[in-house]
Symmetry: C2
Subunit: 109 residues, 2 copies
């Protein structure tokens, strides 16, 4: 089973796809518009878009022959939530470090 989180993490692990996302953050755009700044074939960009769609990070609405893409970044929240499970852990690490310094301060060499 390939989870939802997996699709999202795979999607954002590629720099070209992150670049597409940042373009779409400035507003909806057609595939051709998105592709323009890249020195890459339209077909190549199309494939990346498909992967972003699979991760639900991008939605497409057809208007005639045009495919307008817009960013739907909500799935990133799943990633953020996954990360917070480690936040607790690194806070504990900081706490231990703090304890260490307090102990050191109270009982100096």
């Amino acid at each position: 089973m390939v989870s939802k989180l997996d699709n999202v993490l795979v999607a954002i692990s590629d720099p070209t796809r992150r670049s597409i996302m940042s373009r779409l953050a400035r507003g909806p755009a057609r595939i051709s518009d998105v592709a323009a700044p890249f020195s890459m074939s339209l077909t190549g960009v199309c494939k990346h878009v498909r992967i972003l769609e699979k991760a639900a990070l991008v939605r497409r609405t057809r208007h005639g022959r045009e495919n307008v893409l817009h960013l739907t970044p909500e799935p990133l929240r799943d990633v953020a939530r996954w990360i917070t499970t480690y936040e607790r852990f690194w806070n504990e690490r900081l706490d231990r470090l703090e304890d260490f310094f307090i102990a050191k301060k109270e009982r100096p060499k």
Copy 2:
């Protein structure tokens, strides 16, 4: 140039590696210990560990023949920070949605 963020995102995009991370969140462990639950060769796990090290998500300390791994999840903060640049965006989306419903309510069909 391959950024730091890229290493981290690539590292966490694999389920096996996330699984290793969650194991190490329960405490430091040797590579063999980490490998034990997996139906995978030790060599395979070693490779994954290397990728996690490259992303600075795991640190290794040798004690004789043993390699003790412990989690250093701080680089995940870079990912969290990257995500927050889209948080603003999805809040605006929610605002627009809210505006839409308010407008709808005030001027019904």
